[in-house]
Symmetry: C2
Subunit: 297 residues, 2 copies
Amino acid sequence: MTEANFTDWMARQQQRAEHALEQALPAATLSPLRLHEAMRYTTLGGGKRVRPLLVYAAGELSDAQTGTLDAAASAVECVHVYSLVHDDMPCMDDDALRRGKPTVHVQYDDATALLVGDALQTQAFDLLSTPGLFADPARQLRAIHTLARASGSRGMAGGQAIDLASVGKELSRAELEVMHLHKTGALIRAAVLLGALSGEVSDDALQHLDRYAKCIGLLFQVVDDVLDAVADTATLGKTAGKDAAHNKPTYVSILGLSESKQLARELASEAEAALAGFDARARRLRELTHYILSRQF
Amino acid sequence: MTEANFTDWMARQQQRAEHALEQALPAATLSPLRLHEAMRYTTLGGGKRVRPLLVYAAGELSDAQTGTLDAAASAVECVHVYSLVHDDMPCMDDDALRRGKPTVHVQYDDATALLVGDALQTQAFDLLSTPGLFADPARQLRAIHTLARASGSRGMAGGQAIDLASVGKELSRAELEVMHLHKTGALIRAAVLLGALSGEVSDDALQHLDRYAKCIGLLFQVVDDVLDAVADTATLGKTAGKDAAHNKPTYVSILGLSESKQLARELASEAEAALAGFDARARRLRELTHYILSRQF
């Protein structure tokens, strides 16, 4: 398994995540039909699955069981997708395109989008609390608590609130970093930690992984900002240039394009350094750093 | 404690729930301020706290610890409040008044209401997954899973979806029952089960409690429909007559007022019967049946 090159490994894990989500979501034939159909519409068949990839890559470090990792990967992705569905709604970013498809409120309606996001968040905790999913119930509780902390008002949802409050304002680089550490960083950290917690892992290893994940989360955002500034809508699969259009502060608007790229390279080096103490089982985490960085260069 | 009359007991538990929620929610001085302020605005200082009362009453049966019960009561109430905040939004019921106060999207804005609901849901799972909260981690996982199942697409959120789909349609009594068993019944059942699971409880006792809770959930809804038809806005603390105004099917619209009241009495008797095997520790659950019934008569 670990012999495959990164591209093959990534393709296999993306398929695996897709299959895990297929199984994890309620069938479209189950009542209420429209809600379940819309949950599947927005979750399946799209996305790079960066968070599941991080779950799987970190799971290699702790020799986690397949079923545990699949549930952890699906749970993190459900939280991510719920946040996208709500973020795209008219009262937030009012976006019509996501992952190359019409957003849920466009394809269905606003009320359905609201419920789809709500139910996807619950689905994440439903999946992760399945009795017997982890060998150790106490570790399972820790995984659930990690996901909840990362998603709530002091994590992802808090980041969205900071984002809302920052529209049209001048942010310092430090303020922008605080926003992103919450808005995207927290869930990316949770993905890495949940992957590791799905198997046996020491607290010391978790600390190093947390440092890695913090860098990766910021890296991901810096690259996103660069892509948003330079790529077109067809390439992104979502509306390009929307941060500028919404007058939102980005790394590019604060640091400029060239310095943003430099920051990305520095964050990638720091992520690499955080993994220095790990053996070859950290290979996929190392490769993911380069993958996230190379989305831009 | 168990000697107090019901009114005193209820007042004390309502204060206890208020205090538990005060402690459970992030402080209004924590960033992001506006989000935390709005979460506290909508959760604190209002409501009859029916679900926390059920948690506490069921907890008496299983000799649950105070801290465990407080967290369980707060978690269930956070899910309930999140559903109210989202339900009141313009794309759903578009309601301006709740618990005698302007709704969140009126007092703040739509985007904040969306995030407040999202973050309150997460807060529920954050609270309930606190490591060490239950004496037995496996029982704690079961409690989390029970809450997730009750809240998601096959529970409360699913009930909202059925409700949406039923506007302007003729429902049979059976279809109406299916909607309410999901929309309000599922979370009320979870409240009773979580109270019991907070301490030591047998699977047999849980089954009887589940039957009790199913009756109570429907009873609560039938009484709500009757009150919505006959009471005024000032008495309810929320907009009266809104079901009729939204052309939503209710027990009153399907069965008529007199037969709805009769159904309420039958459900109360059935709830009573489900508790027949329990000793005096079920006193508060028995009293709650009468309390919920007597909201109308």
